[in-house]
């Protein structure tokens, strides 16, 4: 059963240099070690071991936009960012928050894994490869797949790489209000109607009695389950093509660099 990140969708701390990090008083190594233990248990599934990023953004940076100040960092750890998919996993004591904050800050003092690609070359590849026929960046493109305008704020490089090479294993979950609550988004479905017509597309929403689908031509369909001949939810598949073997490693790096640079600013 796929349990990857469950309710944990996206975005924790976004990346954008703004506030200079203040390390504050010397933090005892023991506090950091305890923070790591908590982090590995609760946070690493989305933010990656050592905070290198995955479905959630990397945290091994000197500056974290949503957590520029220590108080902001403590707040994010304490309350989560529920509307962006980061849950409050559990209630933490002040001491535990101290430990987690100290650990997260320590990640920024290690050398960040640099994205080796070139964002400008990545942008050219994005255009050449027709990504805009399914994705929107800054209002331009087609809305069949996810809007990528701010994708660099919500996903780590490892996840973006996975999305290019094995998109079926990287479908986002519960990061948008519809269908919500940890549901797989852009889940491929195949519906055969009572009169034998087949519709293939992605699930938009669902309840026990009905399912809403957007087909590959980006048209909405609504089906009553009891009236359909067949409804197949194709878990483990994606309608996005895999670029494994179709792009050179360097090209993948360039595309990842470009996508990582997309932060909502033109």
């Amino acid at each position: 059963m796929p349990l990857r990140c469950a309710s944990v969708g996206i975005v924790l701390f976004a990346v954008a240099a703004s506030v200079e990090m203040r390390a504050g008083a010397q933090t005892p190594a023991a506090t950091i070690q305890q923070g790591k233990q908590l982090f590995d248990g609760m946070c690493a599934r989305c933010h990656g071991i050592d905070g290198t990023g995955d479905e959630g953004p990397g945290l091994n940076r000197a500056t974290l936009t949503r957590a520029g100040t220590d108080e902001a960092l403590r707040e994010v750890i304490r309350d989560g960012i529920p509307d962006r998919g980061m849950p409050r996993v559990r209630r933490l004591t002040e001491n535990e928050i101290d430990q987690l904050a100290a650990y997260v800050r320590s990640l920024g003092r290690t050398s960040a894994t640099a994205t080796s690609g070139n964002a400008d070359r990545g942008r050219a590849l994005y255009e050449q490869r027709g990504c805009a026929s399914c994705h929107i960046v800054n209002g331009q493109g087609v809305s069949f797949g996810p809007d990528l305008t701010e994708i660099g704020m919500s996903r780590g490089a490892a996840y973006l790489r996975q999305s290019l090479l094995g998109p079926a294993e990287a479908l986002p979950r519960g990061s948008s209000p519809v269908p919500g609550r940890g549901f797989t988004e852009y889940l491929p479905v195949r519906v055969v109607t009572a009169d034998g017509k087949e519709v293939r597309g992605v699930r938009i929403n669902e309840d026990p009695f009905t399912i809403q689908v957007r087909d590959t031509a980006n048209r909405f369909h609504s089906f009553r389950k009891s009236e359909a001949r067949e409804i197949e939810k194709e878990f483990g598949k994606s309608l996005m093509p895999s670029f494994r073997g179709r792009l050179a490693d360097a090209e993948v790096n360039d595309l990842v660099a470009y996508l990582s640079s997309l932060r909502g600013d033109k």
């Binding site: 559990r90 209630r91 002040e94 519960g174 609550r181 009695f209």
Partner: protein, 530 residues
Amino acid sequence: MRTALLIALGLAIVAADTAAQVPYDRIVRADSTPSDWLTYSGNYQSQRFSALTQINRDNVARLKPAWIYQVRRTGIVETSPIVADGVMYITEPPSTVTALDVHTGRPLWTYTPKIPPDVIVIGSPPVNRGVAILNDTVFVGTVHGHLIALDGKSGAVRWDITVDDNRFGYYVTSAPLALDGRIIIGVSGAEAGIRGFLDAYDPKTGKRVWRTHTIPAPGEPGSETWNGDAWKTGGGSAWLTGSYDPVLNLVYWGTGNPGPDWNGDLRPGDNLYTCSLLALSPVDGKIKWHFQFTPHDIHDWDANEIPVLFDAAIDGRPRKLVAMANRNAFYYVLDRETGEFLSATPYAKQTWAERIDAKGKPIRRPGTGPSTEGTLVFPNIQGASNWPSPSYSPQAKLFYQAAREMGTYFYKGEPSYKAGEAFVAGGGRAVNGDDAWGAVRALDATTGKLKWEFKLLTPPMSGVLSTAGGLVFGGTDEGNFFALDADTGKPLWDLQLGGAIRANPMAFAVDGKQYVAIAAGYSLFVFGLP
């Protein structure tokens, strides 16, 4: 002159008594007046069954909304309406009471207590699940820990008392239970490290008649299941309305988790009477028997589910029974005279117990406790069931339960008590979305054996109602309100209400017409045949 005045006063008193809308005798006989819905679960046995037959399997497909009432303040509407003599009494979040004309849905009065802005509600959203009615008075518990008696005709306050100090996290969300000369109310607050209790109040004066703590003090029976001072913050809330057997004169009430929730290191032992069912005398609150479903709970599996009373033969012998589909995923049947354990059957996926032994005690699977790195266990924190009501049909002899199929990664944290703050020591991450689901299940009430199920996309937080029309009504988090065939589970009707259903359905009749009511989103919907 003086005599005349006394006579006049006497007459007035008599007149007031005869004008009493809902005396105790009427609630005891609730089954014989299905047009009304006089107590939280429909009758004292908490069966949530309607004997009305006008809406039935043959015509339910034509069910239409009759009226809709929208609440004044947004919040989760978990109310379970009461209907008496043409008036419906509902609650709105957080602790407002509103009386509605059942013909039209037009408000007759509304009352909102003064809730301080710094009210402490830890452990649930600030909700209310309904009122109790007795004679001409409506009773409501509030999130600031009060119990308030309102005049049923106007909403005027008859009395307003503090159940306990909200600064320590005591609050009330459940409907009180109105008995003969007693208003029974339990508190919420185990997540703030309260010491739980159940109270009885004089309906006329609001004076407390008794208080029974769910956590014994040193020296009291059960105190040997606690260590040191842990009992002082031991939890054991009594946050959902219980049941009553008028013949045995016993109240049945579930109790919640021990505090802190997910780290039991500070409280070695069984932690009585947490996660238990108590049978108490309404006269003095004395505990006649107890049964603990989950000793030393570390998963937050409160036993605050509805205890359903019914009589049936077991092994050829007629028994007075109480059944509970517990949050820990087992369906329990007990003898309600003695508390004797009769059976426990899983009704949803569970991974924490090898089995339940002959005395009803679970044999835990090793390695299923919360941990720093998270331990995946089924059912999830909110459980295979929760406060939403089950239903028992005396006709079909089936127990209908909206079951939740979901796991949680349970995390263990460090305990740290501070008055009025969360005392939970951990938490969980739900395995939700496409990895979770639910079902309405029909269980043989005496054995717990599955008769049928109707699958739901997500774990439900809606109760169910069964009717003599051969129907089971239920709701979904996606907003579907639906009717199933009570014998087969086949869906017969459904409607999208546009907001999550986190409430219990009920039925009533007025002017010879049957209606079914349910809250969804920020509204209360009432349905009837056109």
